[in-house]
């Protein structure tokens, strides 16, 4: 009743091919953007910004990048943490070595460093596939770990190997408050997400998907596997690199190579698998699931225990959190192997028929 495209006639190809052809979707998206850009900055607390919203926004961006590679192009990668690290340290080096370097070019250059690194470690994808490729990209992870720990040049010869940034500003505006940091990350995310959505709808996105679905057939119809795969690596690692730079600059402030360990690579892969492979929306769901749910559980459990008049120790809460979180992952994957994004589209499908299903 509410969600039905009856009566919405398309009279031009343009109208037919827009991102959200259904008017309700457009309104929903606009409302969501208004919520994210206006309502949230006005209402959210310090804690929400710093501990939940900023990490969620940045991780969504990173998951988006991983989704392009893994979800759209079908190249399983376990090197995402390394791409983030390269983005972060690349941006740091430009920022710290060049006096007066503005922030936005810094982030773009950081992303480009990650792109170069990603293409280099994407080369094995021309020969190996599937799980073998996952192992090959794991090499990127270990290489980056080693590089930033041992090559002192990257950390400006700091004795402890940890680096820090400060005095971030863009167009003369200081990015010190949580709201400004959040808005900056959100703008970056919105711009890149829009670009990514259009890329995957365009010719190059179709090439990626063709490669994912069957690379031999794709090659037969004239898609160059090398170009398609390496471009997926390039675009994906650029986005992940920018996310890494944001993570380091805006969330951590000071960091060590351990912040981009193999755990992070796994987390990002889980995000896209749980969120939904090959779906932009899924990246957001996945990031929310992995970033927010554990924290929510951790706070909800003592609250729940409080309701029944019991006191739960932090240890018990954190063990329970891990168990419930693990259980939920398994449960979601059994109920909906195509990820949370599939649930979302099923819900939309049901909503079209509501309240009179067949």
């Amino acid at each position: 009743m509410l969600y039905r495209e009856n009566g919405q006639f398309k009279t031009t190809y343009r109208a037919d091919q827009q991102i959200f052809p259904i008017a309700q979707d457009r309104f929903f998206m606009l409302a969501l953007l208004a919520l994210a850009f206006v309502v949230v900055p006005l209402t959210a607390s310090d804690y929400l910004f710093r501990a939940i919203l900023i990490p969620f926004v940045i991780m969504s961006l990173a998951a988006l990048g991983v989704n392009i590679l893994v979800g759209y192009c079908g190249q399983i990668s376990l090197g995402s943490g390394a791409f983030m690290a390269v983005g972060a340290y690349g941006a740091y080096n430009f920022f710290a070595r060049i006096p007066g370097m503005p922030l936005i070019p810094t982030l773009i250059l950081g992303g480009l460093c990650a792109t170069a690194f990603g293409i280099l470690f994407g080369l094995p994808s021309l020969r190996v596939k599937g799980l073998y490729l996952a192992v090959a990209t794991l090499a990127a992870q270990f290489f980056a770990d080693w590089m930033f720990l041992r090559i002192k040049w990257f950390t400006l010869d700091n004795s402890s190997g940890s680096v820090a940034v400060s005095n971030l500003q863009v167009f003369g505006l200081a990015l010190e408050s949580d709201v400004s940091k959040y808005l900056f990350c959100l703008c970056t995310l919105a711009v890149i997400a829009l670009g990514a959505k259009n890329l995957v709808r365009g010719a190059i996105g179709r090439e990626w998907m063709a490669i994912r679905d069957m690379d031999v057939a794709a090659a037969v119809i004239g898609i160059r596997p090398m170009y398609a795969k390496l471009s997926a690596f390039a675009v994906s690692s650029f986005i992940i690199g920018v996310a890494g730079a944001l993570w380091a600059f805006f969330y951590l402030g000071a960091w060590e190579p351990g912040a981009f360990s193999v755990d992070l690579s796994f987390k990002l892969l889980f995000m896209v698998i749980i969120g939904g492979l090959g779906s932009i929306m899924g990246s957001f769901f996945g990031a929310a699931f992995i970033v927010i749910l554990p924290i929510a559980l951790n706070q909800f459990l003592p609250f729940l225990a409080g309701l029944i008049g019991r006191d739960i120790s932090t240890t018990a809460a954190s063990h329970a959190e891990l168990m419930i979180f693990g259980g939920l992952i398994v449960w979601f994957l059994i109920v909906e192997p195509h990820g949370l994004a599939k649930l979302w589209s099923t819900a939309k499908q049901k909503l079209r028929l509501w309240p009179f299903p067949h």
Binding site: L149, R150, E256, F300, T314
Partner: protein, 444 residues
């Protein structure tokens, strides 16, 4: 099907609601809120648990003694699992609760780095007892950091001195070979500057052997030690790396008496699994070793554990890390007490006031004795410039069952450490474009 949908709805609802539910209860008057970041789960839980128990036990003890001039401590724990992102989340969650946190102890290198960047804006001092950034001892640059009672450079310096003493004088170190087996992380790398400095001064050869975290794989490292046969080995490890190193040393036949550990490598959880195999192994104690006869330990057992109010198992009370936690808690509480002396006894202090208190600590032997810490640490006094307060340390060794103190008090060489701190802090200030504090600022 229906149940499944219900369950799904309930889960989503729960996730949604709980993120909105703010855990803040109403702040009660006259309660100083003390957040505790602990890691009782995860790979480093064996170290994190006794530390957290020590902190919480001591806070409870302060409450049992009547609080700080009547101000009771309100304790809230948050589990970090030794994960930097979770530590930051905990910090953000707790810092505003119950009228706001006035002081925080991060208990992790990564978290210390991250929170150091946030503390000046939040006006919350960080107490990092012997860990974190060594250069943060310079209070003119690091206004909010307090590596009280010694930092890693003091630990490293004392380790070299102890080795020198065993050889019969630092000048005898010339031409000797010392291996440094360190955790390949910012924590481990803190060892390098001081030990390299000493190597240059005394002419001993330093062999650097980094171990990739977490350090369960050290076969290659110990093969190198077997080949090069260093005269001494300094172990700079954390968690499982320590017991692995000791087991490898045992397997290689490297004498444990010639192994010297940093204080993170010198507690019960590090050697317990190796037991007799670690006999004779030495470590530096940044002031406190284990002490089951300290007045504090007896008081804790009598006041808390005898009544079933203790936090952890009672065998643990008095062990190295328990005492470390208690000592950290004590110095924090004394910082608040010092702040109360100036800003009003019996009042709840805010972060800025506690920072002043921590900068003006003056714990005499009499005060320490009264607190039950006689023999655990030496008198300590801090200032605006010096946020560390003491260069003292001792050596202790594992006799197969317990840690026993084996040396007199030794002092890290100020002549060496101070300029290093100064230089590193100046470098940090230049990078961050900070202006060091002026003497006028020190009065505030």
């Amino acid at each position: 099907m229906k149940i499944r949908k219900l369950a799904l709805a309930a889960t989503l609802l729960a996730a949604g609601v709980s993120s909105l539910v703010s855990t803040s209860a109403f702040a009660q008057a006259k309660e100083q809120y003390m957040p505790v970041l602990s890691y009782r789960t995860g790979p480093y839980a064996p170290n994190g648990t006794p530390i957290a128990n020590g902190i919480v036990d001591y806070y409870k003890l302060v409450n049992a003694r009547g609080g700080i001039n009547g101000v009771k401590l309100l304790i809230e724990e948050c589990e970090t699992g030794y994960d930097t992102a979770r530590s930051v989340e905990c910090y953000e969650r707790l810092k505003g609760n119950h009228g706001g946190a006035a002081v925080i102890q991060p208990w992790s290198t990564g978290a210390t780095f991250a929170i150091t960047e946030k503390a000046p804006a939040d006006k919350i001092p960080l107490v990092t007892l012997g860990y974190g950034r060594s250069e943060s001892a310079d209070g003119t640059v690091f206004k909010w950091n307090f590596p009280l009672a010694g930092n890693y450079w003091v630990a490293g310096d004392v380790l070299v001195q102890a080795i020198g003493k065993k050889e019969g004088g630092l000048d005898k170190l010339k031409g000797k070979k010392i291996a440094l087996v360190y955790h390949d992380s910012p924590f481990g790398k803190e060892a390098l500057p001081i030990i390299q400095e000493r190597a240059k001064a005394h002419g001993f050869e330093l062999q650097l052997l980094p171990v990739t975290a977490p350090g369960v794989e050290q076969k290659a490292t110990w093969l190198q030690i077997r080949q090069s046969r260093p005269d001494y080995t300094i172990l700079w490890g954390f968690g499982v790396m320590n017991s692995t190193a000791l087991k490898e040393a045992q397997a290689t036949g490297y004498p444990r008496e010639k192994m010297y550990g940093v204080w993170w490598s010198g507690a019960e959880p590090d050697v317990r699994d190796v037991g007799d195999g670690a006999k004779g192994y030495n470590a530096v104690a940044l002031q406190n070793s284990s002490d089951f006869d300290a007045k504090l330990v007896k008081e804790t057992l009598a006041t808390l554990h005898a009544k079933g109010q203790g936090t952890g198992p009672k065998e643990e009370v008095g062990q190295v890390l328990w005492l470390r936690g208690a000592m950290s808690a004590m110095l924090t509480v004394e910082g608040i007490r010092a702040a109360q002396e100036r800003y009003g006894k019996g009042k709840v202090m805010n972060g800025d006031q506690v920072r002043w208190g921590l900068e003006n600590l003056n714990l005499t032997q009499a005060k320490l004795d009264a607190l039950g810490f006689g023999g655990v640490l030496r008198p300590i006094s801090t200032s605006c410039q010096d946020h560390m307060g003491a260069y003292w340390a001792r050596m202790h060794s594992w006799d197969g069952k317990a840690w026993k103190i084996t040396s007199d008090w030794m002092q890290g060489d100020e002549q060496i450490i101070k300029p290093m701190v100064k230089a590193a802090a100046a470098k940090y200030a230049a990078e961050k474009k900070l202006t060091p504090r002026t003497p006028a600022d020190c009065q505030s």
